[in-house]
Symmetry: C2
Subunit: 247 residues, 2 copies
Amino acid sequence: MTYCVGLMLRGGLVFMSDTRTNSGVDNISTFRKMFNWEVPGERSITLMTAGNLATTQAVVSLLDERVKEPGNRAPCILETDSMFQTARMVGGLLKEVIATHAETGQRADATFNATMILGGQIGDGDPRLFLIYPEGNFVEASFDTPFFQIGETKYGRPILVRAYDAEMSFADAVKLLTVSFDSTIKANLSVSLPLDVHVYHNGSLRNGPIFRINTDDPYFQEISSGWGVALREAFHCLPEFTFPPEG
Amino acid sequence: MTYCVGLMLRGGLVFMSDTRTNSGVDNISTFRKMFNWEVPGERSITLMTAGNLATTQAVVSLLDERVKEPGNRAPCILETDSMFQTARMVGGLLKEVIATHAETGQRADATFNATMILGGQIGDGDPRLFLIYPEGNFVEASFDTPFFQIGETKYGRPILVRAYDAEMSFADAVKLLTVSFDSTIKANLSVSLPLDVHVYHNGSLRNGPIFRINTDDPYFQEISSGWGVALREAFHCLPEFTFPPEG
């Protein structure tokens, strides 16, 4: 499994992804699921992937190969005209890769599925955030639905819904995602540290801070233990339940 | 979908279930999913059900019919010797009902699936809590794993894991379950009020308070809005994130 979140703030886009992949509980590995491209002053693009690892790696490799072969007829991710065109291209590649493998066996299509979050900004376009489906189509985030989650999305959702604020600072957004990831990691063995983070500042047209939160990260430890305490305190502050009179 | 939780405390067992059933998003109804039997001074038994409504209703009807036909060869739920025997009987019925309907079509077995939580106390036996699978087998809760959830379990799990305490009062347990149900209801349209509650006091050998929390219940409203505020406050009390220096 996997857990990735892309968050839209007034000030920019914040991405966080875990790195655990598993094929059964006895075959666990660490793979990067966040990929960044930039042309400083012109574009910054981030892609996060969930689902079949062979599929997602094939899509990312195809994107990278095209970058190394300029002049190719197909547009590369450093040349697309807009984020919308980028989403179309990535969606098209994803659908193609799944179709290629699905041909080989009956009902294999579901097995090769993958879902992606794509975000960034190109030229004078707005910063945009997309959720790309295995069918190659996609939906875009707005401030009505300001974040996308892929993978194991349920455990970490309540705190996102409750504490997200479009005006929050980047530091608060990283804190929020850390709490959301901690809740997920505590509940599901197939999601795990290290976590990859990218914070894109709107209008900068270059990658913002990209860093990794490792297993021994003191901030993560502090949030993880502090959140348990804070939750219990919050719980105790809620009004007491009184049983209805017996009738 | 459905959400039911059975919780084991030092002092007793607490059960909560929602009442929404749906067959697609455009066919939503309210059905009771919690069923109670008692022989005061001798036994109290609670059953909660998730999954195919036709299956779970058939199981409950069979249990009730046997109660009305004493002297039948099959033991009835008011006559079993122990909670373990009760779990075996309910598991057997569940498996039988699923098998009957599954015969009629290919791969229909999954469609008719259901899962159940059974808890209570009989005579001088200990109070016990079981999770019964569609295959008819079951596992029992202990203070290592002191609660079972069925249905839409993920959204409401983090707070249970964080705030559960075996020594907590019955009122605190109802508060905890209310928070867990509120998180689930906020996230999933297929789980909804009213909620049914039963609080069994260990050793009483009779049903404890059984009541319903309705949509307009002021306590539920208070918890629902209060928990959002409390969560945001807890979140703000956590230490700030500071970005690593750019390298």
